[in-house]
Structure formats: structure tokens, C-alpha cells
Amino acid sequence: MTEHAPVGDTKTCPFCAEVIKAAAIKCRYCQSDLAGTDADPVADEPATVEQPSRAGSGLLAGTVGAWPLIGLSVLALLLAAGVGYLAVDVSSRNAADRAEVTGRDAAVAHVERILSYDHESFEDGTAEAKRLMTEGFGKEYDDTVALVREDAVDRESVVRAEVVAASVVSATEDRVEALLFVNQTTGASDLEEPRVDLNRVVVTLVPAGEADRWLVDDLDAL
């Protein structure tokens, strides 16, 4: 044992483990070429630089081969891509769930407002209703209002719309389609009793730009 331990100006051949002269560039036992190998770690300056032995970081000190690094990097990238896809999908799904709630509430409030009118405040009422619509649907609404106005004033109509059931057909963060049952009660000078119409209304809403606010983009009675 002591015979083989490197002492003084000797080192251990990395190939055959025999003790040889520190300056040897060829092992005298096994004839191995020693130039450029790290037969003696103490004499190996670059290795000492690459292995800073910080106190308490034994596990993290030292170097490893390229393959574990490449493998882990590829794995991390693939996982990051998967997590990114799921995160986008889950967050848009959460937004859709929220849209289903806020969109339905908006559908009820907007439809009751739009389908109600009073001959005494006809202009104010329709102007207010128009603020709940997109520009496109607003134009359609103008055409309807033009047809109804004269009749409403002549007959002194008062129409109240009440949503009696509200459901969602489909909901995404960009568009909500709601199906509502609307009872429209009409009072007019030529009616002895108010008339009730049982309507079935499909309304499409799009975001107004502000959080949780919606505008009516389409409204159809079935």
C-alpha cells in the first residue's frame, strides 16, 4: 500500500495505477502516453478552477457531462410548451365561465330595457336603449324604431318586457348567445285589457371593451 502511494515527485499512472515520476510523459510500466492527462490532480490547475469547493455545496460542486444538461434542457422546453398550451386553454376557459355569468345577466337587463318602451318618453327611452347595442345592431334598431314610433304615440302604448327564464346557448370570452323567455305586456288606448305576448328571444352579446360589460349585437324573436 505505501509502496503505491504517490510520494514526493511521483504520481500514479492513470492507466495502470503504478507509481511513476511526476514529470513522466510516458508510463514506464504500461507504456501509456501521459501527455495531457490528469495523472496528478494536485498539479492540474484548470481542474481546480473548474471545481470551486464552496463550503456546504459538495453536491452542487463539480462538473457533469453534456448529456444530462441537454436532456434536462430538452425536457424543460417540452414541459414549458405543454404547460403554456394548458395555461392558455384553461385561462380562456375560465374567461368563458365568467362570460356565461356576466353575459347572461347583461342579456336579461339589456333585453328588458330594449323591449320596453313608453310613448311618453319614447325618444329618451330609445336613445338609452341604443347605448346597450353595438353600432351594427343599433342601425337595425333604428329601422325598427322608425316603424314603431308613430303607432306607439298614436295608441299611447306602454310596453313592459319581463324575462321569465334565462339560459345560455353558448359562451366564450368574445361572444355570448343567450336564449330568453320574455313576457311583453302591452297597454294601449285601444286595448281594454293589457295584452301579454309570450316571446322567445335569442340575443347575441359581445364585450363592450370594459370589464364584464356587454353590448347586444343581435336580437331575434323565434
Binding site: 462538473t63 457533469v64 444530462p68 434536462l72 404547460v83 395555461a87 323567455f181
Partner: protein, 166 residues
């Protein structure tokens, strides 16, 4: 050999990458379960609307010349109180439709979900039907506003309540 080792990296980098991979796995696991839950909810919604639509078509469609299968189709998708009520009114319904020579053909125009959880749902359905009987020359249109309660029994959504919304 020394070259390849040198082109690797310090061990702490490997440890850091391992921690990153672990964190991504945990995050991914959480997101994956949320994603699966969302998919299950979408599927549930489709199943609920499909079942409600089929039940309303069955409910608004009957033919006095073939009345028993017409009634059976309604009962097939029914459960609970609704099934009991419909079953108990079966004799009168069959007699009435034979007497009047009623034929009704229903179709669903639209259906939406009012509320829904894992095993119950409330749905509203818009349906129309064309009705003929011996007192009508032309088919008469009927318009319906219906609200249905459905429950999940086994792997089927069955209607436990069906109401006309006035």
C-alpha cells in the same frame, strides 16, 4: 474524453434544471386536471342539451295511428315525477289522440342551459309543432316555451320535470 466533460456544465446548473423540470411537472399536473374538468363540463353540456332536445321532440311528436311507441319514446327519456305523471295520464292521452285522430310533429328551434352541475341540470327549450286532427283541415302551428329539469342516472340524462313556461 476530457473534451466532452469540459463541454458539459457545472453540477449546479443540472440541479437548477432539475428543479425547473419538477416545478413544470407540478404546474402541468394542476393545469391538466383543470383542463380535463373543463373538457368534462363541455361534454356534459352537450349531453344535457342533446337529451333535453330528444325529450322535447318526443314530447311534441305523436301519431294516433301509432300512439304506443309515441308515448314510449317520452317515457324512455323520463324519470321521477315527470315519468310517473306521464305514465298515469297515458290512458287518457292515448284515448284522446285516437278520438281526435291527432298527429303532431315537433321540432326544437333552440335550447340553452339555465344551470348545471355534475348530475343535475335545468334547461329551457324552444319548440314548435304542426298539429293536425279531425277538426283541422290544415296543420296548425303550436309554439312552446319549455323548461326541463334533468338528472344523470348511470350514464344517461333523464328528464325529471317538464313545464310550460307561461
Amino acid at each position: 474524453m476530457r473534451r466532452l466533460v469540459a463541454s458539459g456544465g457545472p453540477r449546479w446548473l443540472v440541479a437548477a434544471l432539475a428543479v425547473l423540470v419538477l416545478a413544470l411537472l407540478v404546474t402541468g399536473g394542476v393545469l391538466l386536471s383543470q383542463w380535463q374538468e373543463a373538457r368534462a363540463e363541455d361534454e356534459r353540456r352537450r349531453e344535457v342539451l342533446r337529451a333535453a332536445t330528444a325529450e322535447v321532440v318526443a314530447f311534441t311528436t305523436l301519431d294516433y295511428r301509432d300512439i304506443e311507441p309515441s308515448v314510449d319514446r317520452v317515457l324512455e327519456g323520463a324519470t321521477g315525477d315527470f315519468k310517473e305523471q306521464f305514465e298515469s295520464s297515458r290512458p287518457q292521452l292515448e284515448q284522446l289522440s285516437r278520438d281526435n285522430e291527432s298527429v303532431s310533429e315537433g321540432r326544437v328551434l333552440k335550447a340553452g342551459v339555465v344551470s348545471m352541475d355534475e348530475d343535475s341540470a335545468t334547461v329551457v327549450v324552444v319548440a314548435d309543432s304542426q298539429v293536425t286532427n279531425k277538426s283541422t283541415d290544415e296543420p296548425q302551428p303550436r309554439h312552446y316555451r319549455l323548461q326541463l329539469d334533468l338528472v344523470l342516472e348511470g350514464d344517461r340524462w333523464l328528464t325529471s320535470d317538464l313545464q310550460f313556461v307561461g
